[in-house]
């Protein structure tokens, strides 16, 4: 309970030692932090530390994938998607290879390490690549399920994990359905579409809104690409107002994806909560979330604003 999604990732990899013998794991000198360490200790023959060389790591993963291996390549999100972007683009996505890229320490909740290490653009840039799927688990239960599911699916996939522990709201028997949104709470006045660590915040906000007589529904979009367009449209039709929440830049991520779909299929008023075109910085994760407006309070305030308009 209340475990970081990266921790769940590391544990799921250990499960995969037995479950899928084609799974191999690569890291770029961050095994302690990305939590691939346990896998490396239990199954050293299927673990490759590539040193501080993310480009080489992704290329090597691609080579392994051409020979039927299922590589999970792990490092901080900022390096996996930024430093190695060309490798992800040309050597993983272009030939549609079965490489799972796992970026941990995503978003501003990295905290003390500061803006250089806080990926806010990773969702946007990974989403822009053909063949790439993008998954952002919202708690440890979902992270485990998503990693196990990813191992069984073909094709390039980016999985975004957080450094900090967050509330577990899924039950142990939760079934992860790739590409399907999850209606966490039903409601009729407004839909809060959230991803990752912002889902528990959205649930909290919906609870507080209920006390004020506002019936908000909450959708967990763990698969940002391919987006569950049907569900997004249904939410818009039902509540007529949508708020998106993500711990990432508002340019190109979940909010943009929702706007793209709704502007085509069912335009309604939308507010996007996220990082407002600025880099992260050092500090306590919770205080940073306050400062960047990624809180239940901000979601409530935005919902009320939207209902007044």
């Amino acid at each position: 309970m209340n475990t970081a999604t990266r921790e769940a990732y590391g544990n799921a990899l250990v499960e995969l030692i037995e479950k899928n013998e084609d799974v191999v794991v690569l890291d770029a000198d961050l095994a302690h932090a990305t939590k691939t360490l346990k896998f490396s200790q239990k199954c050293p023959e299927r673990f490759f530390n590539m040193g501080i060389a993310e480009a080489d790591m992704i290329g090597t993963a691609a080579g392994l994938a051409t020979c039927g291996k299922i590589p999970f390549a792990s490092t901080f999100a900022v390096f996996a998607t930024g430093r190695a972007f060309d490798q992800v683009r040309n050597t993983v996505c272009y030939p549609n290879l079965n490489v799972k890229i796992v970026g941990t320490h995503a978003g501003i909740t990295v905290g003390p390490d500061g803006g250089s290490h806080e990926a806010i653009e990773d969702i946007a840039i990974m989403r822009s690549l053909p063949n790439m799927s993008v998954i952002v688990p919202s708690d440890d239960v979902e992270a485990r399920a998503a990693v196990l599911a990813a191992a069984e699916m073909k094709g390039p996939m980016y999985l975004r994990m957080a450094r900090v522990a967050s509330p577990t709201y899924h039950k142990e028997d939760y079934v992860f359905e790739f590409g399907k949104g999850e209606l966490v709470k039903d409601g009729k006045d407004v839909t809060i579409i959230a991803t990752g660590l912002m889902v528990p915040k959205a649930i909290e906000a919906a609870g507080a809104l209920a006390e004020e007589g506002i019936d908000a529904q909450v959708a967990n979009i763990h698969t940002i690409k391919p987006l569950d367009e049907k569900m997004v449209v249904e939410c818009a039709k039902k509540t007529g107002r949508v708020i998106t929440v993500e711990e990432a830049t508002v340019y190109g991520g979940l909010g943009s994806a929702v706007c793209e779909v709704l502007s085509d299929k069912y335009p309604v008023p939308i507010k996007r909560i996220g990082v407002q075109d600025k880099f992260g910085k050092s500090g306590d994760a919770d205080k940073l979330l306050e400062e960047y407006g990624l809180t239940a309070g901000k979601i409530m305030e935005t919902a009320k604003e939207l209902l007044r308009e």
Partner: protein, 277 residues
């Protein structure tokens, strides 16, 4: 099933001659492409495909096959010529290079072209891919070799050196790399643009087994591969001294022929020269 390998070196040389003709015809038909480098790697490619590689054109995805990573993907015309002559597809298809709906893309595309082991094109990435293939081979208890062809300008990319470290760290003796050392790149000579020398000492200091040979001598290339296969525990670099544009007098050692297609008259002259060899 083991595909019969042809160890008749006169055939290899014949194939190299035919591949050069194919390359000129392909690039001329496409109206764009990279003839200079394609002609400089031809003898390496011919030796691999017609002497050394354990492959089966009827089963391009055969798990036990040797692999080729054409890291300098822009010399795709040379690879396509080898694949066509080997029987992966028809020689006539070569003329569709770079055209709409062709399965022969400007740079190698494993999803479209039978016999292409991996897509390449963005320079500097092939050695990493080859390392991954070799690691998989080791894990799967396979004995295949992974051949990689790098350009001399290409090794200016930092990733090459990340990968060079990894090949040695993981003792990937089934990686056999070739450096197409023709000394020229788009903007001029290596020395003018960004000096890469001494290439042999660089790779040796990275823990590689290094040989330096004439990259147009198919016998020497073949012997160097045999020598590389005898070496245990280290990756292999065969530095091939080559001539960009080899075989066509007006293209030889001319930077301008890096990425320019010959017009009809130039192509005719080039073909005349190549056929007379």
């Amino acid at each position: 099933m083991k595909h019969r390998r042809n160890s008749d070196m006169s055939n290899v040389k014949e194939m190299a001659k035919q591949m050069r003709i194919d390359i000129i015809e392909e690039v001329a038909a496409a109206g764009s492409g990279h003839p200079g480098g394609s002609l400089s790697v031809t003898d390496i490619m011919a030796t691999l495909y017609f002497d050394k590689m354990n492959i089966d054109p009827k089963n391009p995805k055969w798990e036990d096959r040797d692999r080729l990573v054409l890291s300098k993907g822009h010399v795709a015309p040379a690879l396509y010529a080898a694949l066509a002559e080997k029987g992966y597809f028809n020689r006539e298809d070569l003329k569709t290079l770079r055209k709409n709906d062709s399965f022969l893309q400007g740079h190698p595309d494993m999803k479209k072209t039978p016999g292409v082991d991996v897509s390449t094109g963005s320079l500097g990435q092939g050695l990493s891919i080859a390392n991954g293939m070799a690691l998989a081979g080791r894990m799967n208890h396979k004995d295949y070799y992974v051949y990689v062809i790098l350009g001399d300008g290409e090794i200016q990319e930092g990733q090459v050196w990340e990968a060079a470290m990894s090949s040695a760290h993981y003792k990937l003796d089934h990686v056999i790399a070739f450096l197409d050392f023709n000394g020229l790149q788009i903007d001029g000579t290596n020395e003018e643009v960004m000096n890469v020398n001494p290439v042999d000492e660089k790779f040796r200091s990275f823990g590689w087994n290094v040989q330096m040979i004439d990259g147009h001598d198919c016998d020497a290339i073949s012997a160097a591969i045999d020598e590389a296969k005898r070496n245990i525990g280290k990756p292999n670099m065969i530095i091939c001294k080559t001539v960009k544009g080899k075989g066509v007098s007006f293209m030889e050692n001319q930077v301008g022929w890096h990425g320019t297609a010959p017009n009809a008259e130039q192509a005719a002259r080039a073909l005349e020269e190549l056929k007379a060899i």
